[in-house]
Symmetry: C2
Amino acid sequence: MSFEFIENGTVTTPEGFLAAGVTAGFKRSGAPDFAMVVSEVPAEFAGVFTSCTFAAAPVQLCKKRVLESDFLRAVVINSGNANACTGEQGMASAVKSCEIAAQALNIPAESVAVASTGRIGVQMNMALIEKGVALALPALSRNGGALAAEAIMTTDTVPKAAAVKLQFGDKTVSIGAMVKGAGMIDPNLKVPHATMISVITTDAALSKAQLQKMLAVNADCSYNRITVDGDMSTNDTVLLLANGCSGVKIAPDSAEEAAFAEALLAVMQNLAKRMVLDGEGSTKFVEIKVINARSAEDARKAAEAVGNSLLCKTAWFGNDPNWGRVVAALGYSGAQFDPDKCDIYFGNIPVVKNGGDAGTPESDLRATVKEREFTITCDFNDGDAEYWVWSSDISYEYVKINADYHT
Amino acid sequence: MSFEFIENGTVTTPEGFLAAGVTAGFKRSGAPDFAMVVSEVPAEFAGVFTSCTFAAAPVQLCKKRVLESDFLRAVVINSGNANACTGEQGMASAVKSCEIAAQALNIPAESVAVASTGRIGVQMNMALIEKGVALALPALSRNGGALAAEAIMTTDTVPKAAAVKLQFGDKTVSIGAMVKGAGMIDPNLKVPHATMISVITTDAALSKAQLQKMLAVNADCSYNRITVDGDMSTNDTVLLLANGCSGVKIAPDSAEEAAFAEALLAVMQNLAKRMVLDGEGSTKFVEIKVINARSAEDARKAAEAVGNSLLCKTAWFGNDPNWGRVVAALGYSGAQFDPDKCDIYFGNIPVVKNGGDAGTPESDLRATVKEREFTITCDFNDGDAEYWVWSSDISYEYVKINADYHT
């Protein structure tokens, strides 16, 4: 039951899913900005969302769907307008967006979920939703996943989709996913954590309870582990749809369920890593591992402090093996540990031994931080808990993108 | 008993203080890098320090002085080497630095405090301390404050010193101060908070208990309110020395003490503001005020989230009145408030009303964020607590400075 990645896999790789990506006119650039993902049959589903107090109207509506709807048939997504901080009118617009899509697809409005990303504080232009649905409807296809992934991008430089397949006896189960998100990404969140929208599809059959548990656990080990700039969005949405079209039913607490969960995690980690690599202006992928900590919470605080440290991130951009900044971040993280026991490694090279300089020549360290990807391991030698995060550097380009971005 | 600022005031403005700033050779650039501040008579003193787990050796030694020494006669400061993460040898170096200065000045070693700033993880070159003391000793003067302020700079672009005087009947009391710090500055700290070293002098007579209380309270309303990049250092040190040379004794809980505290706060706020204005690559000074919050803690979380938000900071750099990013930061801050009651102002201009767009034309908002200095007020309309922080923008220059800095 081991899984394998499918080349050019998308949300339409699993059986019974159709998708489309079209230009409705939300983006001034004329780039695709409206996506639909449709299941040919009712799909069980689960969702995790931003914990931001100003959760956008579409997020509030999706939460309602998770609580009240028995199944989903479609997800509509627009980029270019977040429909956040838009009050009652914004909520009415989110509801109306679902109704427009439901009418076109001849399905119940309660079986449609909606996600939006883009500028905050601007009311939705409903004519553009009408136009998006009208254009997407005839374009829906079994090959539409790639276009859908493109249509949900904002500051992303590349579309991000993936799929895996698992063999269960003579039957094949697929899991497909797409994600948008490249900035405003932070792990400091309970389920979930990022300016990101992700739709995950599978043709296996699972219950809502199974899906919800699996999604929350896996988000915590993938999308929740990435940090680009420490900010979090009003609109983060992750939806997982299971339509059963493969004919494979996954029983709770079975070996099959464990195999499925592992494959799902692989897809989500694949996309999480690509979000970091596509972080706004990012030139580095840095894994921060804290090991042998007193508690998982100490390990988490320490790893996130390093992963979010602007001084570390700018040092990485400058190929500077400045471990003093790592030490400073660990020190102010709030994690409990004994600084005199702390060892730090860049890759496999010891940098700090017992809280002081390990004596490695700077040229050796510089070779490591010049890599596109490297790992920083902080060994507290003080327990057995661990945590990791994925981070990126902060470049001139990051500042430029975010100083200039107005959608 | 109102105070007034003294033009070109420094730590040597108060009676009985001498200072010097010289080039000992810690900095490769050849710029001044060693300072001494000396009181002609024993001075009562107090200190607040970094809460970083990896507190540098000089910080640990200063804390010991505060606990164990009855008075200070001198403070020695070097820039170019932080003497942090240097283990037992580092502590021995800090002790030895005090001894070298004490011998030269013919005073007890326990009456000398030491502060260091610069590269982490490098052992001190004690020959340079010897040289610094030898050069500084003959240079000590009543006009040396300005040179001392220059010698403690690292990435600072300008030296930062100030002084005020207060009239008590026919006697004048002065308070002088200097500070270094322009990056790695964050308010998320208990007493204190920043990569900064500050020495404050006064010729009034106060007890250690008075000084310690006043310093902690005032640091919390000045140095603790500034945020440049959310990082904190291993070496933050604030020392306050009172030598009584004015002949004015300030009684505890008196009107005179209140007036003195107010003047001290003015000096510390003046320097705090100048640290933000001198923030690495900063082009803006932004005051974030959260008012009418449910609790001071809610107000603090909200103000710090906005002040530390990279997305807000890059928007300010870009003169972009993007209030969506302010809203997002408030939303993920962890502060408890009702988003539907939240109003936001840029300067005096309403931007958000009841959690949604206030309808002000973007051109009006843009005029405000184009200013060198402006205030963002977040009114939660949900209580009577408030908090403010001072922040700056993040520019290309910030990234450049921190990607390239190796001391």
